[in-house]
């Protein structure tokens, strides 16, 4: 089965090499694409040197557009399964391999790696959310569960695996602003099988989170508006 692993990266020259090496080790059969979201540092060069394919967006378009580029590439080039993980080193590649296994076994169309699922094991050096982040997480969890009538624990996870039905959907519709949450809502509304799998995530290797309390509040408000609007979008059954 042809598999693509793609990594959205924006100015991640410090960690992208390590992530590429990690993916190579854990998922040697997959093709590797780095979606360079208008980086101004050497992210694209580093990735190319490491032998990964690089899709460079000419200017920064945001995470949603970068992820959509990956889905579009996978769809166009006939990959049967794809997965993506963050470029900052938070996502261990062997966990991505487990997500992919769910998709290739056709147990789900879209699989989300969840940090907060009951089955997720915490160890030393593992991911621990801050207070303001925990509030946001529970708000989104509540409203997304309400909107989709399906339990989600990790709504903003950037570690996912998907099959062609999802590629086809996401390459057409993918919110540029609120990619993670709206895409889950969209996928469930389209009748796709969305599944969460407990995974281990690490503390970020470099850089810091962009969230301050005020930003968090705005982020949550925006997310709720997006979810509300999403409930009124037309429901289609997608045929490939």
């Amino acid at each position: 089965m042809r598999t693509l692993v793609f990594i959205p990266a924006w100015n991640e020259e410090a960690s992208v090499l390590e992530v590429i090496a990690d993916v190579r080790r854990a998922i040697p059969e997959a093709d590797l694409l780095v979606v360079d979201d208008g980086s101004t540092d050497a992210t694209a060069e580093r990735a190319r040197e490491a032998g990964a394919l690089v899709a460079s967006l000419p200017f920064n378009q945001g995470l949603g557009a970068a992820l959509q580029t990956g889905y579009l590439y996978a769809l166009r080039n006939g990959y049967e399964a794809c997965a993506h993980l963050d470029a900052d080193g938070q996502h261990p590649a062997e966990e991505v391999a487990r997500l992919l296994a769910e998709v290739t076994a056709d147990r789900a169309d879209l699989v989300i790696g969840s940090r907060y699922h009951a089955g997720a094991v915490a160890g030393s050096g593992d991911y621990k959310p801050t207070f303001s982040r925990r509030i946001g997480i529970s708000v989104f969890r509540f409203f997304l569960t309400l909107a989709t009538r399906q339990r989600f624990t990790d709504t903003t996870s950037g570690m996912r695996a998907a099959n062609r039905r999802v590629m086809s959907l996401f390459s057409r519709h993918y919110s540029p602003d609120f990619a993670e949450i709206e895409s889950l809502q969209l996928a469930v509304r389209q009748g796709l099988r969305v599944e969460e799998l407990p995974v281990r995530m690490l503390e970020r290797a470099g850089g810091s989170s962009f969230l301050t309390p005020l930003r968090s509040a705005f982020f949550i408000f925006k997310g709720l508006v997006v979810l509300l609007v999403g409930q009124f979008r037309p429901r289609h059954v997608e045929a490939e």
Binding site: R48, L53, V54, L57, F59, A65, Q68, T69, Y73, R76
Partner: protein
Amino acid sequence: MSLVFAAETGQVHLTSQTRIVAAVLALFFMLMILELIRRDRLQERYSVIWFIAGLGMLVGAAFPGTLEVVANLMGVRNTNVALFSIVLLLLLGLALNFSVIMSRQAAQITRLAQERAIEKAQRQAAGQPNGNGSSGEQSLQAEKQSFES
């Protein structure tokens, strides 16, 4: 308050001085739009609405009676207030229209950027020269700069 009691009291009219000023401004406005189109700074399809606005201003200035009819319909005593309300609403609609156009163009730009990125990666996958030599990178840098400025 004037809105609430509008219908009960006498009308306040436009003075002939405001009419002359409005007519001159409207003509000047339409000339400016013509000039912008002539210099390729404004596309015709986005200029229609502005011509209509200019014509509306002219009509209002030449036949203030029309404005008073509209003001009466709205139940506004002061014709100037009616004028302001109408213009404000039109501008609101226009601003919304621009947001819609902007959203569409943002989506188009994103898709264009994605297509270009994918094409580059596909060329790289096919093992062809993919423009990652020095000249290609330089042109990409130049593009980035021109977008930022």
